[in-house]
Structures are given as C-alpha cells and as structure tokens.
C-alpha cells in the first residue's frame, strides 16, 4: 500500500493549525462489483481504520468504510505543538497495515 502525507501549508509555526492530508493507493472494493471476465463478485477490500499520532500520542482515530473513493484521501486539522514526528497507521479489512511518518518542523 503506497501512501503519502502532505502538510499544508508547507511553512508553519508552532501554534498554527495546519491540514494533514493522508492518501493511500487502495482499491476500496465495495464487495458489490463484479469481475468483468469471471462474472464473480470481487470481495470487499477497503481501508477500515486509520490512526493519526503525534509523538506516539493519538490525535485522531478514523473508522473508514467502503464508500470512500478508490485511492482515498483523509484530511484533518492539527494544531502544531512543536517539533515532532507524525505517524499515520492505516489498516484494511484483510489485515494489511502500513505505517507512514512525516517530520513536523515548525519555522520560527
């Protein structure tokens, strides 16, 4: 599962509220779609949980359902307390999970 974390805006200070965009390459199969060749239903396969952590403290926990678009975006606000590491852990309903990190480096 490829992922991408974007902090917006790029430049921010401690105390600023920034947006954290988390994207993942994931099929987000609903379980209601048929394979064109076999005619069989494609089993549901979707990200079902995402946790955002800053210095290992939970900021936001998400329960995600198959209605999010393929290659989904999840965006939250975050009030930057200072320097640290942002960690996002995404897990899907087949038990695959991926951990992505980004450095939080306020300027000034």
């Amino acid at each position: 599962m490829k992922t991408l974390i974007k902090i917006k805006p790029k430049d921010y200070k401690a105390g600023d509220i920034v947006k954290i965009d988390f994207m993942a390459m994931h099929p987000m199969e609903t379980g209601m779609r048929k394979d064109k060749d076999s005619g069989q239903l494609i089993p549901a396969h979707y990200i079902d949980e995402v946790k955002f952590m800053f210095n290992d403290q939970l900021i936001t926990k998400m329960v995600i359902w198959e209605s999010l678009s393929v290659n989904p975006l999840m965006s939250i606000s975050f009030k930057v307390p200072g320097e640290g590491t942002l960690k996002v852990v995404a897990k899907d309903n087949k038990g695959q999970s991926v951990e992505s990190t980004a450095k939080i480096t306020p300027k000034g």
């Binding site: 490829k2 992922t3 991408l4 994207m23 390459m25 678009s69 393929v70 290659n71 965006s75």
Partner: protein, 257 residues
C-alpha cells in the same frame, strides 16, 4: 426526409441531453473550486513519485539528457517541446518513446508503451517541465510539419460504423454543447490546457492515464478502431492536439473527470 431528421434530432436530444449552456446543469463556481482542490491532493502524485524511482533505476537523467542531445539542466525546457523530431530516432517521437530509446541506450530492458511503469515514468519525465509552457514547434522542420498535417487528417477523418471523427465532438463550433451532462471542452483553451495536463488522474477510472491512452479510450467509446500507441498516426494526433494548446503551462499530474 424532414420527418426522419426531426425524429433523429429528438432522439439525440433525449439520449444525450444536447442542451445549450444552462446554469442549472452547470457546476457552480463553488463546485468547481472543490474539484480544483483535488489537484492539491492528487492520488497520482504517488504514481509520479514511483515513476521518479523507476526512471532513476532504469535510466537516470544524465543518460536521458545524453540520448536527447541536451544538457541535463536544459531538460525541463526541452521536455516542454515534445513531441519533437529526434535525430537519433530519425522521426518525430513522444516522451514515452524517448524513454524507450534511453533504456535501450543503457542496455536495459525496454518498457512497453502500455505498461504501468511507462505511464508512471513518462508522467515523471513530463513533470520535470512543470511550470514551463508547452512549446511544441510544428514548423521546426519538415518532419514536424508533416506530422502536424497528418495529425489534422487523423483528427478530422470520419471512421467506424457511425462515421465519427475526433472533430465530431471537438470541433470549435461544437465546444460548449453537452454530451449527456458533460460540456464538450475546447482542447485549445487555456483553462483546458489539454495536452499540457496529461498524464492525468482520471476520476472515473481511479488511475493515471496518458494522453494517447485517453485518445484510444475516446475512440473505443465512439466505436472507432483504436489507433495503436506509438504508431505514426497516434504520434501525429498527439502533435496536432498538443499544438492546439501551445503556450499554456504544463502541470503534471492533473485530475480529470
């Protein structure tokens, strides 16, 4: 004959909703702004990042610049002018074809034009020219002039069981009409910047698609035989369509419906 004509028009209107521009059916500015934000968090960015890695492993920009016969620092400007006539190929080629040439030049396996790796690599290479203006020059030499002329022929040639051409839906006098709910875009308009914004993430397909592949998809849906990727006709079509948007900025990857 007149009755048949009227029936056909009524049918076409019923099927496809050909309507003149009507505010109720158009997206509001607020709606458009929401879609524009998709550009800021585009899933295809992950593909372009992967393309950078694939390209670095396969070729690298130094060897690539050498194949194109330019300095590494001039790559962005040079890339903005594709498709171009390339001496070593002795023909007009697309960026994807230059990646094939470069892979061959360093003794690596040549990626197929339709491969997923090629889509990602060609998007990465074109993204090096982000911010540059599309600078194709169809008068640069006789090869380019020929390809531009051929491209126009292909664009206007009515083919398939229904006798459609690219021009059937993309002529300048039909722009703004609707195909179902979709306004037909002006391929040359600044806001469309068509050729400068492919490869793009297609929302309907949830994947990044190249310009030539997009044109194939258009042909398929209009019941035309698909012109093969890399063929003289397809490259010519890319030359013709790219020239329509000359001067508009390159921005890769974009997001399309």
């Amino acid at each position: 004959m007149r009755r048949v004509t009227l029936c056909a028009v009524a049918l076409s209107a019923a099927l496809c909703g050909i309507l003149n521009a009507d505010e109720k059916l158009s997206m509001s500015d607020a709606d458009k702004a929401m879609y524009a934000e998709l550009l800021e968090s585009n899933p295809a960015e992950m593909d372009v990042a992967e393309g950078e890695q694939l390209f670095g492993d396969l070729i690298g920009s130094e060897a690539y610049a050498k194949v194109l016969g330019v300095k590494e620092k001039d790559l962005p400007k040079h890339i903005a002018g594709f498709p171009r006539y390339v001496d070593s190929a002795k023909k007009v080629v697309t960026l994807a074809q230059t990646i094939q040439m470069a892979a061959a030049s360093v003794g690596k396996p040549v990626p197929k034009l339709e491969s997923k790796e090629m889509v990602k690599m060609s998007a990465y290479v074109k993204s090096l020219a982000n911010g540059q203006k599309t600078s194709i020059d169809v008068k640069a030499n006789k090869h380019m002039a020929e390809m531009h002329k051929l491209g126009q022929q292909v664009f206007e040639e009515r083919r398939g069981g229904r006798g459609l051409s690219c021009n059937s839906c993309h002529s300048t006098d039909i722009v703004g009409q609707r195909l179902r709910m979709q306004p037909l875009p002006d391929l040359g308009a600044k806001e469309t910047a068509a050729a400068g914004t492919w490869p793009a993430y297609r929302m309907t397909q949830s994947q990044m698609v190249t310009l030539d592949k997009r044109m194939q998809q258009c042909m398929k849906n209009a019941l035309l035989a698909e012109i093969p990727l890399g063929s003289r006709e397809m490259v010519a079509l890319e030359v013709y369509v790219t020239n329509k948007t000359k001067g508009n900025p390159i921005s890769i990857p974009s997001v399309k419906r």
